[in-house]
Symmetry: C2
Subunit: 417 residues, 2 copies
């Protein structure tokens, strides 16, 4: 061959070998089971979306659309973007069928899409990642805000997490607006600018925070007042915090510095953070938005949703030692030919054992029998059956269970049914 191809994947994405895939599949299974237990139904859309979906005013996160998406022009001159988040696709689909969906509100949808961002790669941040997205459409009631946060909480519990391992941070965009107005700040662009500064509060020093705030509002003492207000943790009046407590969920904190990256939130916003490293590790986040479907000329549909990424979740499970040790779905039984002349007999035996509902592989390789057995032991296969002349002639087989090193003899029916 002229050229040696690299075996690396594209920069910033992951290969999922079977052991990696088993972990991702486990995360997906826990996610979907929890979502369905709350009555959410699964949907999906293509990763290819018209770019205009992310450019419309109200739907946008400027930095992301301009610098961080995969956007290209297709062979038919259409501008296409690999979806960087799922909410715009969900809003598009909801708007497209709102007339038939509306009577059934609250509509609960979940999805586990792959999402794409062109960003600098770092631990837990990939250019392709998967995310659980749960949204409730069509009912703007605080009990729904509480319900969807309870769902996020139960996902962590279903993974085996203790309440001390994660904390739910809650804020409300509308309440914050009122607070800013009470400080004399009424311009919504300024409020949005302050919100963006707050979004980085965890990642910068107090001094940096204060000076950036002062630059944003053009007034040092106003900046101090904002800082003081943002750092108030008195949350006795927050209905969401109170409602979660009624459901027995108490690892919750009112956090007025919580901002969320997206511009489209209008009410409750929340994030779940790993208590082992709260500043950096946001494990899930979401909020209520009221203006997304109107972009499509549909009725305005209130929604609340959250996203939870697979890579961060895997980090969390690893750090807290919550990943089950055996997630493999490999064969329970391996049928080995004694030598190549019995390969087809081994296939026939495997075929019969499968009819008893077992996962069965064959080893018809050219390895010596001893090596075949050795490899099965290495892989923690439960049982093996060797097929050679005696077995084929007698129709009597030996099932060897590798963990206990015990042998049982009989027909396949007797051994596996």
């Amino acid at each position: 061959m002229e050229q040696k191809l690299p075996t690396d994947p594209y920069k910033g994405v992951r290969d999922f070998y079977p052991a990696d895939m088993a972990i991702q599949q486990y995360i997906f299974d826990v996610w979907s089971h929890a979502a369905e237990s709350f009555g959410f139904e699964r949907y999906d859309a293509s990763i290819l979306e018209p770019s205009i979906l992310y450019k419309a005013k109200g739907a946008q996160n400027e930095e992301m659309v301009n610098d961080q998406t995969y956007t290209f022009v297709d062979r038919g001159d259409r501008e296409v973007t690999l979806r960087p988040e799922m909410t715009p696709s969900a809003a598009r689909m909801i708007a497209g069928r709102w007339r038939e969906l509306a009577p059934h509100a609250p509509i609960r949808w979940y999805s586990m899409p792959s999402l794409y961002r062109y960003e600098r790669t770092q631990r837990g941040r990939f250019r392709e990642h998967w995310q659980l997205n749960c949204d409730v459409f069509g009912v703007n009631d605080v009990s729904i805000d509480i319900e969807i946060i309870a769902l996020a909480y139960h996902i962590f519990k279903n993974f085996g997490a203790g309440d001390d391992m994660f904390r739910i941070h809650i804020n409300n965009r509308a309440t914050m607006d009122t607070a800013y107005r009470a400080l004399g700040i009424t311009d919504s662009d300024t409020i949005m600018a302050i919100t963006r500064v707050n979004d980085r509060k965890d990642k910068i020093t107090d001094e940096e925070y204060l000076s950036t705030l002062a630059l944003t509002v053009g007034d040092q003492s106003l900046a101090l007042e904002i800082k003081r207000m943002v750092e108030t943790t008195d949350g006795g009046d927050n209905q969401v915090v109170a409602g979660l407590a009624q459901l027995g969920i108490t690892n919750v904190v009112l956090d007025r510095s919580l901002a969320r990256g997206f511009d489209y939130y209008t009410g409750t916003i929340f994030e779940i953070k790993d208590t082992s490293n709260e500043g950096l590790k946001t494990l899930a986040g979401g909020g209520r938005y009221d203006n997304l479907t109107a972009l499509f000329g549909s009725d305005n549909v209130s929604g609340i949703g959250f996203g939870m990424g697979d890579a961060r979740m895997q980090d969390f499970l690893t750090v807290h030692n919550l990943l089950p040790t055996d997630l493999s779905t490999q064969a329970e039984v391996v049928v080995m030919s004694f030598d190549a002349s019995f390969n087809m007999e081994a296939q026939k035996v495997a075929s019969v054992i499968r009819t008893f509902g077992k996962r069965v592989a064959t080893d018809v390789s050219t390895k010596r029998l001893g090596d075949k057995i050795g490899r099965a032991v290495e892989r923690n296969v439960a049982s093996i059956v060797v097929v050679g002349e005696t077995e084929t002639a007698s129709n009597s087989y030996t099932r060897k269970d590798l963990a206990t090193n015990t042998e049982t003899h009989g027909t396949l029916q007797e051994l596996f049914a």
Copy 2:
């Protein structure tokens, strides 16, 4: 808002509303269950691959790479392609770890990737589709060829298909090469050109086939000889056909016109066709390839695999009336607030019923109670519970089963545990 956004998805792709998603999920579940029953382990790679993966000699299907892929240059000047098929990614991953995998051969891997092709849209052909991919690496033995075709067969059986609904077409590239050489055709480019003409045999008339063949080999009588050879159906000597018969699989035909689109096949090739429309509907296809991993500088690893698309599969199941009628995973129980003042009580009740393992949604919308019940009936919800003053005060609830219109009274524990 300035601009009304369209609610249509990008051209040539599908939105999956919950009812559509339930069908796709059903197909995925049958696929993965069958693959795992044969000892295949799931893997995945990114949809983003370096474009060079599809341009290397031996890996290529010229037409596809040049005209039909989504290829673009990323912000870091890397040429990227949305994967149009999975085999090159699998070969890349296998080559990357062959040293540690080799002792465990045969390696059985499956995946259910989304694949991307820029092609004219038509029924059952989308720009984004999903495909079951199963491959066995590292053992070149005819019993493995038979096993993997048996897996494809059992997938159809697991969907409830009768043997009369589909037929397995089998050919062998090496055997065909020998036959061409016997006719005096030794140039491999000419043989590949003939193979490409054969690939379209089903879709053109006999006259067109013959004239294209004559143009290809530059000889009318040689074209006739090729046609006669290709149309021979005598398959008594084909080991794969014979082996499948030993496993009880007999809806099989030796088909010397079978060519397969990809250039990289070297031995057994096969397709599964819908008998209700054999010329057009290939439901699955694959074959043995021997030169893919060598491109990466790895040892040469023999492999055999097949792909099976979700859209074609759904068409097949629909045409043959094999789709189960209720695939929904919606809530089994809907807890309704009597009015908005009981929304939070309804959430608490739902939360308790979930602890008994039920899928539970709440209806805390502003609809009147009668409408809430009506919508639950429309959606075929199994049971409802109404939460109002009496229930909250007494801690006694009524479970109404909608199909039978029966009511049961008691504590939540008594009703749902």
